[in-house]
Symmetry: C2
Subunit: 547 residues, 2 copies
């Protein structure tokens, strides 16, 4: 059978755009001789619509889109993902479904059984799990349709407190008893750099175990925090990858399930994948929100340098402007490094020193403050003055502020709420400082874009004389390892200490993470590139006593 | 049987405190001759621990607490709520369970079947549903234990797109076949002013339908956004309320299930209940976070006036300070009204005019801004200058900033991010402006606390000359009705228009709600008093096209 794999970038709730893209691919597939074209999970609506699924007009629009799309399926079949209304009187109102369309109408509706409800996934919030399994004939072949998690009933877990079998049912076991010739999987599986091969491995294992070929079509593109990386593939029944589509961009390929081949993507370094994920994350945030221009504060430090490089790649240098806001504590080299970087990239910059405004606050507050010593308050006033200046330019010129906080800082609360934590989107909030350094060197691999001094100098917030991050934090090499064990691996303090880390440092670090939940609560959305990012996928109570 | 109903205020993760409270009640119950003492859902951990449930050390501490508590159960039985580890190899790691303790040990573990996963509830994220039902004998009676939602399988819904039967199972139907003498329900059911009688009605209906008495013990107190109102009760098999415990405070009562009585709470006005919910919300946020002192900006307007009255009630006047930050656009009466209110309440106030700082920003930005007209940018600079001043005092003196935004503003985005949207806790973010007026009059019912001018004058942000809210928003009476239909009732635009509202106003209002999701994403936690508050219970995609 000739099957078109349509790996597209959808926009949530944009039925006009999604329908147009889907119909375009159906027509192309037909022209190019495919028998069937497969789209990804919830392709009609975009994944994931969250509580828009609870709105009547949203579901009506989705059904209207399906009717329009089905009329195109003449002489070709298509499988489109969308919610379907549960016809039974009990259970959630909706199923997460795949619609098989042929002869101008919807012929089969198959629904998802395993509803991921953990980390960033909320599917049981909106959907009833399917409990009935069936296959159907098309062109003499028996097809089994599954949706994403349906093939993940036996998950490998990252720590011993997790578990392998999250669900009561094994859809593939049920379906395999019906002897399908092919399993099709509509997916919306986001990228995470530390689970790169997880997805492929689990599907290979499934193909081998049940000796059935699997065709897997993933969504691509970013939806606020989540970056879907594409990389759709086709496995034969031995679990050999026959076809693999592009990562981080739309792709389309017609494959012949009967012809053996080995058409894979070239290998990419992890740091480059993170880079690509962040670029598409910025680009789609702007594109889908209807924004064009970005703004950021350039300090001369490495975090803002990276964000600028990423923003220029995502939006073009003419759509990015930067503001330098030196204080009395900014070193000359910081300003020089920032100017150098802006010039290297050809980006417009302006300089507004903050001292006058900071002085104005300190004078106005002097009576209330009396003769109290200078402390974190005054450092925060500097950061917040910068925050006001950036937002003023954002408001006046319509440039969206990009946040430059990294994951290490975000974890330990090393940042000022309403100051440097401002922004419409956090670009690096899921990238540890040690990876920031790696990415900077990778960006400079051909020639020096980021001034080498920016990379080499000791990290500093420059909020008081000769301040260094290392004055108040463990070295980033150590800090990031402890954080990874605590956040990504979810290990207990005892387990982390047992891995050989210094007890006092572990406890101090964990305490910083726990006592800063309140700051992260008000942080911008963070582009997710790891298996556990701050934000929607990590839900911690604010009012709690942490041990 | 003599049963003690223990309606307590737990602190999430504070096993020491929760265990102490639980043991205290067990001892008292025994001393006072009770046969059994019943605590609320997840009482050992506090409801709701969110992703702390995924942490090994948290579950271990919970089991340790249960062991300690069970040793106290000699000569008396107790039912305590806590997570239990799922012994089966498939499904989520945990159950949401009730532990029946007697003779110094845990005798029965009964788990929750219906796991609410909608609005503010995320239970299927962490728990496997129970599918086995049993009753057990205690002192010659057959007891059936259920947990909260287990008795809610037939919910009334607020709109036609919702549904009555969310679940496949009906626990009470299963249990009633086992002929229990009493159904005990451990609950953690939060307050919402527009579902006041929902809970009671559904349990009365259940008692009557199955002709079984129901003993219902609810949690009380606030956990960040959620305010649990208590109001535990005992129904006989005819659904008559025999006992009803206090609302919004801890309570303890030993009842005799064999003696008919009618011991209810006095009726309270809705606006007073909202007031009580907000007071306990503030008090518990501070108490459980380990804070003592609050701060807010007092504008002379009605919103900040209410927050001040509430904060003084919650924390005491000596723990609250206010800052007046007049600008050139502030009217004299605003300052006078604010001073008058602070004096009426005996609260410390300071005045810092903002003009010097605003000027300093405008001078520093003048070159970048060129000769562009004044617009929303300059209004935001004022709001953000106030934000910096408040945060500076917060940082210097350790007072936590209370946010004063109301629900109507929050809905339509009438507020400045990093300005008046700042704060550790939003007190009024779930209270519509029309209810703000009602509450102000209720606060003044005996004598004028809030200056009458604050209540009577037209609402204004005072960010430009003679500005009124009504310049850019529909009248609050109208606006709030449209918002309620859209947010609480989740009606489609067409349905709202069909209820007789002006089409253009409806569409304009809904557009404002939808285009401000990005602002609310970064808002502080909001005390929830309605059936649909902004925040955790309303999850909307940012990157989406809204129709």
């Amino acid at each position: 059978m000739k099957i078109a794999m349509a790996q597209l970038n959808y926009h949530i709730g944009n039925f006009e755009l999604n329908t147009k893209k889907i119909i375009g691919c159906i027509r192309r597939s037909k022209t190019e001789g495919a028998d069937l074209v497969v789209f990804s999970e919830l392709s009609a609506t975009g994944y994931y619509p969250h509580d828009l699924l609870e709105r009547k007009e949203f579901i009506e629009q989705s059904y209207e889109a399906l009717r329009t799309i089905s009329k195109e399926c003449v002489g070709i079949a298509a499988i489109v993902g969308a919610p379907s209304i549960n016809p039974e009187p009990r259970g959630k109102k909706l199923f997460n479904s795949a619609f098989f369309m042929f002869d101008g109408e919807i012929r089969h509706v198959v629904s998802k059984s395993l509803l991921p409800t953990y980390d960033i996934f909320d599917e049981y919030r909106h959907f009833e799990p399917n409990r009935k399994f069936s296959v159907f004939d098309y062109l003499g072949k028996k097809l089994a349709i599954t949706i994403c998690e349906d093939l993940w009933d036996e998950q490998e877990t990252q720590n011993e407190f997790g578990r392998e079998k999250l669900y009561q049912l094994s859809p593939l076991k049920e379906l395999s008893a019906l002897n399908p010739d092919l399993v099709i999987n509509l997916s919306a599986s986001p990228f995470s750099y530390n689970q790169e091969n997880w997805r492929k491995n689990i599907l290979v294992k499934n193909a081998q175990k049940y000796q059935i070929p699997i065709l897997y079509v993933n969504q691509v593109g970013a939806q606020t925090e989540l970056v879907f990386d594409g990389g759709s593939f086709f496995l034969n029944k031995n679990g050999d990858i026959q076809h693999e589509l592009n990562y981080f961009e739309e792709d389309f390929r017609i494959i012949d399930t009967e012809i053996s081949t080995h058409n894979l993507q070239p290998k990419t370094e992890t740091i480059e994948k993170i880079y690509q994920a962040l670029v598409i994350g910025i680009r789609d945030y702007f594109g889908k929100m209807g924004f064009r221009k970005a703004l950021l504060g350039l300090s001369g430090g490495i975090d803002s340098a990276l964000v600028l490089v990423l923003a220029v790649e995502a939006l073009g240098k003419d759509n990015v402007r930067v503001l330098l806001m030196p204080s009395q504590y900014s070193s000359d080299h910081s300003i020089n490094d920032a100017v150098q970087l802006a010039n290297n990239l050809g980006v417009r910059y302006e300089i507004i020193p903050i001292q006058a405004m900071v002085d104005s606050f300190e004078i106005s507050l002097s009576e209330v403050f009396g003769n109290r010593d200078s402390d974190i308050t005054e450092e925060n006033i500097q950061a917040r003055t910068r925050g006001i200046l950036l937002m003023a330019i954002s408001n006046k010129f319509g440039n969206i502020l990009l946040n430059t906080t990294n994951k290490s800082e975000c974890a330990v609360g090393y940042g000022t709420l309403y100051g440097d934590m401002n922004g419409g989107l956090s670009v690096l909030g899921d990238v540890y400082k040690t990876d920031i350094f790696k990415m900077a060197r990778w960006m400079n691999r051909d020639h020096e874009i980021i001034p080498i001094n920016t990379i080499l100098k000791p990290p500093s917030a420059e909020l008081r004389p000769d301040q260094k991050d290392s004055d108040s934090l463990p070295d980033y090499d150590l800090l990031d390892q402890i954080l990874f064990n605590y956040i990504e691996l979810n290990l207990s303090p005892e387990e982390i200490i047992a891995r050989g880390f210094d007890e006092a440092t572990v406890l101090q670090t964990i305490k910083m993470v726990n006592t800063n939940e309140y700051k992260r609560f008000q942080a911008p959305p963070i582009l997710r590139v790891s298996s556990k990012a701050f934000g929607f996928g990590r839900r911690m109570p604010l009012v709690a006593r942490y041990s």
